[in-house]
């Protein structure tokens, strides 16, 4: 036999005005859902930045003057780009004080054709001699340097290890697939610079489109600064010492992403705060109504032996139930919405994206739910107290 517990009684009460309960739940859901998805978006972007920056492994990048925007976009979202400068820049950068490590890269925009599909990708040629980005990964995963006809690909490139991919008339074997970073590296193909130059040379005869790069051309120089100095100091020195270049620090990149995001989210959070206040007021108003509507019933429950505490708990339970259901629904819908529209959102904002670890999800869900429930508790507190204070006889009589 079912127990006539608080939960059952509260649930029955919520059912008697289904539309009103639904609206309340929906408002709480909206508040919780927007908060949850916006915070999850921030968390995912930061997660991506963290992983992506670690992969990048450099404190700063030196690129040709005027390439800042496209370079930044390429690094963050993987939109292919190309710009070139002379490899003497590499030598000059390496000679700057407190540059501990420097390594050149070359960027090539390309179509990729693999067994499954074709698409735009960014080819990044690295210098195996000095590289500190792809090298460590190769050491851990492949245990040997890349051959001349081999590439390592980002996680979003639609090809598998062992398959062959085709660029500018040359076939390459996929030697490995990198872990996701959520950033541009996921949509990039890595090969050695020599392989890239050779591919360019061969494109003259084998490919429909020529690849016009020469040995001696590079796109960027990745730099690690020596301990005990600041990245900004070294950036200043490079700016002063290597004409025709611009310097982008890892911080600049993070800052740029954060700026793109906060511009979008500021309005979002203001809106969300308004919705939270609205749900608070709605719940308070609805529970004041409920107390009036149910005066007689409350009096009857008291006459049957329900204590003040019981009446108080019944009201509170109804509020907590609605807000908990609303909170959960909001989390589900908000999460699903972000999952579905992730690609659109990140593309239109130009931000990187990587789902955060499970504990982050857990904390965020618990936090959102707690906020929803606390909102319900605060909003219903006064009506719950005043309903429990009603004198049974007066309540029964007034409700007549």
């Amino acid at each position: 036999m079912r127990r006539l517990g608080l939960l059952y009684l509260a649930a029955q009460n919520l059912r008697r005005k289904p539309f009103r309960s639904f609206v309340t739940i929906a408002i709480v859901g909206l508040a919780a859902g927007t908060l949850f998805s916006a915070t999850l978006l921030i968390g995912s972007v930061h997660q991506s930045l963290e992983v992506g920056m670690e992969r990048l492994g450099a404190d700063l990048l030196v690129m040709p003057e005027g390439s800042a925007e496209s370079g930044e976009t390429a690094l963050i979202t993987g939109t292919p780009t190309s710009f070139y400068m002379d490899e003497s820049v590499f030598e000059q950068v390496k000679a700057i004080e407190d540059v501990e490590q420097a390594s050149p890269q070359i960027f090539i925009e390309s179509m990729i054709s693999s067994q499954c599909c074709t698409g735009h990708v960014q080819i990044i040629g690295y210098d195996p001699e000095t590289d500190f980005v792809v090298g460590p990964w190769l050491e851990d995963n492949l245990n040997r340097p890349l051959e001349n006809r081999e590439v390592v690909i980002g996680s979003l490139i639609l090809a598998n290890k062992g398959e062959s991919v085709h660029f500018f008339g040359t076939d390459f074997d996929v030697a490995g697939v990198l872990d996701s970073t959520g950033m541009g590296a996921d949509e990039s193909v890595f090969m050695s610079m020599d392989a890239a130059y050779e591919m360019a040379l061969n494109s003259q005869e084998k490919a429909e489109t020529f690849l016009e790069i020469q040995p001696g051309q590079i796109s960027s120089v990745l730099v690690k600064v020596a301990p005990g100095t600041t990245v900004e100091q070294v950036a200043q020195r490079i700016k002063a010492g290597v004409p025709g270049t611009m310097v982008m620090t890892a911080n600049d990149l993070s800052q740029s992403v954060t700026d793109r995001l906060s511009g979008f989210l500021r309005g979002f959070f203001v809106l969300d705060a308004i919705v939270w206040v609205m749900s608070l007021l709605t719940i308070a108003a609805i529970f004041s109504m409920i107390v009036n509507e149910r005066q007689r019933e409350i009096g009857l429950l008291r006459a049957m032996g329900g204590s003040r505490r019981f009446v108080f708990r019944l009201m509170l339970t109804e509020a907590l139930m609605m807000t908990a259901v609303g909170g959960l629904a909001g989390i589900l819908v908000g999460g699903a919405g972000l999952f579905i529209f992730k690609a659109v959102i990140t593309a239109s904002l130009g931000v990187p994206y990587l789902w955060p670890p499970l504990w982050y999800f857990g904390m965020l869900m618990a936090g959102t739910l707690a906020l929803a429930v606390v909102t319900g508790a605060i909003a219903s507190l006064y009506p719950a107290v005043s309903s429990s204070r009603l004198e049974p006889y007066a309540a029964i009589r007034q409700g007549e």
Binding site: R16, E297, L300, L301, R302, E391, P392, Y393
Partner: protein, 221 residues
């Protein structure tokens, strides 16, 4: 077992004071069957509510077995109402969201009793509604609702039943049935106080009290 000592209850309505009950002294003994009659507005319902601790007297004391119930905590008062007193109200008093049997079981829930289905079913059978166990109050006639409410009054085996016009809007036959029930539980020692307009009901009582403009007149048989 219930003693009212110099009890008054007045209400402030705007500038005037309504004296609903004035200086009533009354003792109800264990096993009594008392009826209270009087004109509408004479203070009968107020008096009954004072006896059961549903409203606080303006002056005077309500003693149940010698204890002033207004010195008890809310929890103790609630327990007293739950375990020892059964109220039957003047108007429909069922919880509309609960079906007949759940309404009947409700008092048992407050006393923490878990196994109460059997007793609730028996009581519904006693009031002749065994086949309406799962009906919601809205699906029952006024008379049927009254009978479910009566079953609920009896649920926790109260020692005292305070009934406010329990047969007020019922046909004679149903009134007689309900009166039978009251008499049989009174025979088992349950104290019963009934407010009524019905001569038939009043004639069953061992004692008839008359309320007149808040004052009590005793015309004991």
């Amino acid at each position: 077992m219930i003693k009212l000592k110099e009890i008054s209850k007045s209400y402030k309505v705007g500038p005037t004071t309504v004296r609903a009950v004035e200086s009533v002294d009354l003792t109800i003994e264990r096993g009594d069957m008392v009826s209270i009659v009087g004109h509408s507005g004479s203070g009968k319902t107020t008096l009954l509510s004072l006896m059961g601790g549903l409203t606080k007297p303006s002056t005077g004391r309500v003693l149940v077995d010698g204890t002033n119930i207004w010195t008890l905590s809310d929890r103790e008062q609630s327990q007293l109402r739950n375990r020892r007193i059964g109220f039957a109200f003047q108007f429909s008093s069922l919880i509309p969201t609960l079906n007949a049997i759940d309404n009947v079981r409700l008092p048992a829930t407050f006393s923490g009793a878990l196994v109460n289905h059997g007793r609730a079913t028996d009581l519904l059978e006693l009031v002749g509604l065994k086949d309406r166990i799962h009906s919601l109050p809205g699906m029952l006639s006024g008379g049927e609702q009254r009978r479910v409410a009566l079953a609920r009054t009896l649920m926790n085996n109260p020692e005292i039943i305070l009934a406010d016009e329990p047969t007020g809007d019922l046909d004679e036959e149903t009134e007689a049935d309900i009166l039978d029930i009251f008499r049989s539980i009174n025979d088992k020692g349950v104290t019963i106080v009934i407010v009524t307009h019905s001569r038939a009901v009043a004639s069953q009582a061992k004692k008839v009290l008359r309320m007149n403009k808040g004052h009590l007149e005793v015309n004991g048989d």
